[in-house]
């Protein structure tokens, strides 16, 4: 008989509990039933503001009904548990349903506190907590010009970001004298305010709202205790949270004086076999309003139920986040409340950076820190604080800008193995080191194996430091040299070629390498040269560098013949051109197949046939499709608004524009695009390196997706773009990838290994943090201006055509080729078929 585990509430923490339990070694001993009053399963409330930059409820989901079904988790949505029958060990829902439990988990979370102000219940007075709240905010924002957030804490500023993103004139009204009063000190709060005001959000501190009445210019008027007032069309209350403890209270479970369900170190409440976890739980008179401590409680409860010994003994409340684009972090005793504590402060008004560390009275331990504007040190400081590590001899170095760039990478080696590096997934330093010992060597590996840095991503820098340190410790040479001929990475070689304007491999090898080169560095250099200077690849200077396919401008198949893929931009093709392809295929007996990229592949062309075939194709208006190159391949499109009943924008025209713009651009690896005419996404753009999806507000751009061997869902990069901005961003991202990517590294892996990840890429491309955006665009334009159809150039040059023969000294063909017929076409004979002398198809001349 399985134990029945009933989980009330399916928020982040409730789900975490379930996920931990069903992943436990003894999972089959338990039957899990979960209730949610919301209409959907758990989603990521931490990322709620992403809803306003284009993420959907689906994107935010932490689980799916499919996953719960697979794990035999019974879930009941939209039915609230209203009572507990302790005697019969049953819960009772609003609809009258009764479910028996052996163990009961209360994970009811919290609700937003709405201050008791007269008039706070208007139609456009809202809160910010659930997806339904966001839907209401969206609805209201569309009917408003001005919005006010009541509450200048962490969530309030997130809500302000949401209003700002909705295009409203945004105000924040705060009772305290500064923003984020809980996490920041005066100096930090002041700088945060300045930065946020510079973004156009108006901040009003020390304001107590007394009433909300009808406005004269806007919908409402807020009157403040000091006599001033503010008019607004909508009001968002974000003045803190209160534990959702109504059920426990009703059933007589022991509560804190100011609410919250009292728990012990096992997360048990005063009622037998009843646990409470997350924001509804009160441990040592404290509510933890962050997700990481909630996750920790979930882990402890699972441990207690399954006979483990884990205890909840408090949690670190350090946070690092980005509010309205401003980096903010708070660690430990940020206010210096510890008796005798001292502090060091660094404040730079020019670069808008504020850092303060609080140290123990004897100046040996770090107690807390506040960082605004630059939070790079967060990982190190937080670890130092949590693990009680000794301060360096000169604690100044922790906050002063490093002069030599060496900075304060100190620390990770000194961390204990038990130090938690990723709080989202509770990954310790030991777990990362263990992964490295088992062969992981890239951030991509570490993420896949340990899940570290795949949640909020805040620990990415620290995770990489731990990984690198462990690699060095293992004696693994962390060499990024492309091959034995160059002591440089591909990125470095690309910089050398670009900055020194190197035009040939010989020049590069003479100046920066040694030996003869090889099949690694030669094609890589060919790609770099082509990306920056875009000269004809079969020019005498470059021909010896070209890889298998490039050197004959075709895709070599297993028997040494080639396949031919002409460009069919956007997948749009005229009947006349289709007929030409059919005629060519028929004449040369080529096997014909439609590719995944909406083009037609003609297989089995012998070397000597390529020029004649391409002559026909070029005359018919075809161009090379670069299917052989590490370059832009295709831009797949759906039919879009020209024909489709649901199309929002003309995806085919955009696809053709993009394909013609970037055709032939060579890169570290192949690049694929997709353009969909609406969010039904028939072009599967989110599985491409660049995905473009039409919305009513313009184009949404997704980047760094991949199908193939390691599928990766593309990341939403920017929304609501017009044509020109879309192209500008693609130019920049693509050229940045060309410059910095590793050899044969697809954009997906490139992004995963890019320090700072998507946020950094956005900074470089959208905010132009490195001041290179113009240069990237110019470089792309130069490449595009040099475009030529390589096949057209080739067939017009008789000297070049000499090499397109199997034998330089004979017109005979390769006698090793053998084809058989299958389904009306040819294919290479298998070895067994050759040996059994099956009837072969005669080849075309």
């Amino acid at each position: 008989m399985k134990q029945r585990i009933v989980v009330v509430g399916n928020g982040m923490v409730g789900h975490k509990f379930i996920d931990n339990l069903v992943s436990h070694a003894d999972a089959e001993k338990y039957h899990v039933i979960t209730f949610s009053e919301e209409p959907r399963l758990a989603y990521d409330r931490v990322q709620l503001s992403k809803y306003f930059s284009g993420s959907t409820a689906e994107d935010l989901a932490l689980t799916t009904s499919g996953y719960y079904d697979e794990k035999n988790v019974e879930f009941i949505l939209k039915d609230k548990v209203v009572d507990i029958d302790f005697e019969n060990k049953e819960v009772i829902t609003a609809s009258g349903r009764r479910e028996a439990y052996d163990k009961l988990i209360l994970a009811t979370g919290s609700f937003p506190f709405v201050p008791p102000i007269a008039g706070n219940n208007g139609e456009h007075c809202l809160v910010y907590r659930t997806i339904e709240d966001l839907e209401a905010i969206t609805y209201s924002a569309a009917r408003s010009k001005v919005g006010v957030v009541v509450g200048g804490g962490l969530l309030g500023l997130e809500a302000a970001a949401a209003l700002k993103a909705s295009g409203l004139e945004t105000h924040v009204v705060e009772f305290a004298p500064r923003l984020m009063a809980v996490q920041l000190d005066e100096g930090g709060g002041k700088l945060l305010r300045r930065k946020i005001e510079a973004l156009g959000v108006k901040i009003h501190t020390q304001k107590a709202t007394t009433e909300i009445v009808a406005g004269t210019e806007a919908r409402y008027r807020m009157n403040f205790a000091d006599g001033s007032h503010l008019e607004t069309d909508m009001i968002l209350f974000s003045a803190g949270i209160r534990p959702q403890d109504e059920l426990a209270r009703k059933c007589g479970i022991v509560m804190g004086e100011r609410g919250g369900i009292t728990i012990d170190n096992n997360c048990l409440t005063s009622a037998k076999d009843v646990y409470a976890i997350g924001e509804c739980a009160l441990w040592q008179n404290r509510i933890y309003g962050l997700v990481a401590p909630g996750y920790q409680m979930a882990k402890v409860a699972v441990s207690h139920i399954t006979g483990g010994a884990e205890q909840f003994t408090g949690a670190d409340m350090s946070t690092k986040l980005k509010l309205l684009g401003v980096d903010v972090a708070s660690i430990g005793d940020a206010h210096g409340n510890t008796p005798g504590s001292l502090s060091y402060t660094y404040s730079n008004d020019v670069e808008e950076v504020y850092k303060r560390i609080i140290v123990s009275a004897d100046n040996t331990k770090l107690l807390g820190a506040v960082l605004v504007g630059e939070v790079e040190a967060y990982g190190t400081l937080q670890q130092m604080c949590v693990n009680g590590m000794d301060l360096p001899d000169d604690p100044n170095c922790l906050i002063l800008p490093s002069v030599d760039g060496a900075g304060m990478a100190m620390g990770v080696v000194a961390l204990p193995d038990t130090a938690q590096i990723c709080s989202c997934f509770d990954v310790t330093k030991g777990a990362i080191c263990c992964a490295v010992q088992n062969g992981a060597g890239t951030m991509g590996d570490i993420k896949a194996i340990t899940k570290a840095s795949t949640g909020c991503g805040g620990c990415a820098v620290l995770t990489k430091q731990v990984m690198d340190a462990e690699l060095i410790k293992l004696g693994v040479e962390v060499s990024n040299h492309i091959c034995e001929h160059f002591p440089h990475s591909r990125h470095e070689l690309a910089d050398i070629v670009r900055i020194k304007k190197i035009k040939t491999f010989d020049e590069l090898l003479d100046g920066h390498g040694h030996g003869l080169g090889c099949d690694i560095c030669k094609p890589a250099t060919a790609s770099i040269l082509a990306a920056f200077w875009n000269e004809y690849v079969l020019d005498e200077k470059h021909i010896g560098l070209q890889d298998t396919n490039d050197i004959f401008l075709g895709n070599m198949q297993k028997d040494g013949t080639y396949s031919i893929v002409p460009r069919v931009a956007g997948g749009e093709i005229t009947p006349e051109k289709l007929i030409v392809l059919g005629q060519v295929a028929k004449e040369y007996k080529l096997y014909t197949k439609i590719t995944g990229g909406q083009r037609i592949d003609l297989f089995g062309a012998q070397l000597h046939q390529l020029p004649a075939i391409w002559k026909v194709l070029v005359d018919a208006g075809f161009e090379t499709g670069h299917a052989y190159g590490k370059s832009l391949r295709t831009v797949k499109s759906c039919v879009g608004s020209t024909w489709c009943r649901y199309g929002v924008l003309d995806s085919v025209s955009m696809a053709i524009t993009l394909e013609n713009r970037y055709k032939g651009v060579r890169a570290p690896h192949k690049i694929k695009f997709g353009v969909s005419g609406c969010t039904r996404e028939c072009a599967e753009a989110q599985s491409k390196d660049f995905g473009v999806i039409a919305t009513e507000n313009g184009w949404n751009l997704f980047v760094c997706g991949n199908g193939g061997m390691r599928p990766r869902h593309a990341d939403l990069f920017a929304t609501g773009l017009d044509d020109a901005t879309l192209i500008k961003y693609i130019d920049r991202v693509m050229m940045f990838y060309i410059r910095t990517g590793d050899r044969l590294q697809r954009t997906s892996v490139w992004l995963e290994n890019l320090e700072g990840g998507l946020a950094y890429l956005k900074k470089v491309v959208i905010e132009d943090k490195l001041s290179i955006a113009e240069e990237l665009e110019a470089q792309m334009q130069y490449n595009i201006d040099q475009y030529q159809c390589e096949w057209k150039t080739t067939i017009e040059n008789p000297e070049r055509l000499k090499r397109f023969k199997h034998f330089i000294n004979s017109d005979e063909r390769d006698d090793n080729l053998a084809y058989v017929a299958e389904r009306g076409q040819v294919r290479p004979a298998f070895k067994s078929e050759r040996e059994s002398r099956i009837e072969l198809v005669e080849l075309a001349d």
Binding site: L516, D519, Q546, D547, G560, R803, H806, N809
Partner: protein
């Protein structure tokens, strides 16, 4: 003992620097390579014993340590151009042939 004949197969200028070509000599497919840096011509069998296709002349040449090699265009194993030995799978060795440039012609002995 009759000395083997030198057979002319193509003009030296047909063999572009750091590329290969295939010639048919006595029904044998011979891959010829021209290393510009070494100022040296190489001749080996054109047949890739691993990919089982006549393609080696279309591979990239270069060096691995001190060895001069061609990388198979199919699966990228390296064959030593002086000894014919496969670096990754030494059980495979391809024939190598004497080769020279005379009066602007590439000649092989077979």
């Amino acid at each position: 003992m009759s000395e083997k004949m030198w057979i002319s197969v193509c003009e030296y200028q047909d063999l572009l620097p750091d590329t290969g070509l295939c010639a048919l000599v006595n029904k044998q497919q011979i891959a010829l390579f021209n290393s510009r840096r070494l100022n040296e011509v190489f001749a080996v069998s054109n047949f890739d014993p691993i990919g089982e296709a006549n393609v080696l002349s279309r591979g990239i040449i270069g060096s691995i340590g001190d060895e001069v090699v061609v990388a198979s265009p199919l699966y990228k194993q390296h064959f030593n151009l002086r000894t014919g030995e496969c670096l990754e799978k030494p059980e495979h060795t391809i024939p190598v042939y004497p080769v020279r440039v005379e009066d602007g012609l590439v000649q092989v002995q077979i």
